[in-house]
Subunit: 199 residues, 2 copies
DNA sequence: CGAGGTGATGTCAGTTACTGCCATCACCAT
DNA sequence: ATGGTGATGGCAGTAACTGACATCACCTCG
């Protein structure tokens, strides 16, 4: 097995671009190879051709390096909900948001799979994922409030949306081949309604 | 301000009982006084009259000391759902579970308030709370499956139940004086149905 | 009553995540 | 050229957490 170690050499300066990208790649690879706990930040930095100190300038901690894309996902979600038709009911605005999230992840099945395997294997990483989802729920609720939805309703609709996201995502990631994520999330939301209605 | 420091003295042996209880009390008090990050485990242990090493024998890490009761809560929830009438729909079994959780926390308003204030003030503690809730959701889903509920339905009903728990708890903890927690959670679940139905 | 067994605790050394501080380097505008 | 700026490296320090071993109170058994 060949291991890619990026190091200084002729033509490659200290300021080789995309330090973040290199760190994310190196971290995911190492977490897959040896596990999260068995990987030290020094090893990640070395494989990325950077110093350990530099890792912590880009990521607050060892976990965060797996969640570089969550901010953009949240932005897309909020934008989509804000731009949904004014007359749409809260739950329909949520569905629009789910469609956008689904679109953002669609096509990245293999990468999502690897990442998911690493996260599921480590409770600390699962914690980080959960707080990202909670942040997503908060942002979604605030976006709904901006639409004039009362706070309690907004919080409930946001929780329903995140629940649909979680379960739809789990169905997506567990399938043998890539399916339509947005559709799975919409289906989950519909079934959530059926379940809360008492079948 | 007087600070209670427990230390060895005549009549108090090394094996003074309830080490866990002392650690929990000391930790909550210190987290409230100086904040979670500003508190060291050595300080908690000292106030409890124990060595730092002993803290880590009782709690896996500095956060866990605030979640000593979560295992029992989960047990109660699972038991209640298992003992719900066989003919009850999944969502009704969930309601029974919420009632039991509500009953377990009812009357501990002030303690819950302090604990909640500490947790909200620190993202690491929030992460831990979220993973405890996720564990609760998993346990709830498994209890529903034991009742013969299909897996997908069980997961959805469990997510709905935990959403109702979260929002009901937030309403409870935010009120000026203690209200009926189980009732708030039931109401939240009912309103969740209304929201997912599109109002 | 003494001897050993058991479980909780204490002590200590070591690893690693993470932080603060300052030096260094490439690039850019003037 | 000169100086400013932003990203990086190096290094020391703190504190969370772990492993290994000693110690202590209590219990059981003979």
């Amino acid at each position: 097995m060949s291991v890619t170690v990026i190091a200084y050499h002729r033509g490659m300066s200290r300021w080789e671009p995309d330090a973040r990208g290199r760190l994310e790649l190196a971290a995911l690879a190492l977490y897959l190879e040896r596990g999260f706990e068995q990987t030290t930040v020094a090893q990640i930095a070395e494989r990325a051709g950077l110093a350990e100190r530099t890792f912590f300038r880009h990521y607050a901690d060892k976990r965060e390096v797996l969640f570089g894309g969550s901010a953009e996902l949240q932005t897309r979600l909020v934008t989509a909900v804000a731009e949904a038709p004014a007359e749409a009911a809260p739950i329909d605005a949520v569905k629009v948001g789910l469609d956008v999230i689904g679109g953002a992840l669609q096509g990245r099945f293999e990468h999502a799979r690897k990442r998911h395997r690493v996260i599921r294997a480590n409770p600390e990483l699962l914690e980080r994922e959960l707080i990202k989802l909670a942040a997503l729920a908060t942002a979604l609720a605030e976006a709904l409030e901006q639409r004039g939805v009362p706070q309690l309703t907004a919080n409930l609709a946001a929780e329903a949306g995140i629940a649909a996201f979680k379960i739809g995502f789990n169905r997506w990631i567990s399938a043998a081949k890539e399916q339509d994520l947005a559709l799975l999330m919409r289906d989950s939301l519909d079934e959530l309604r059926a379940v809360t209605a008492g079948q």
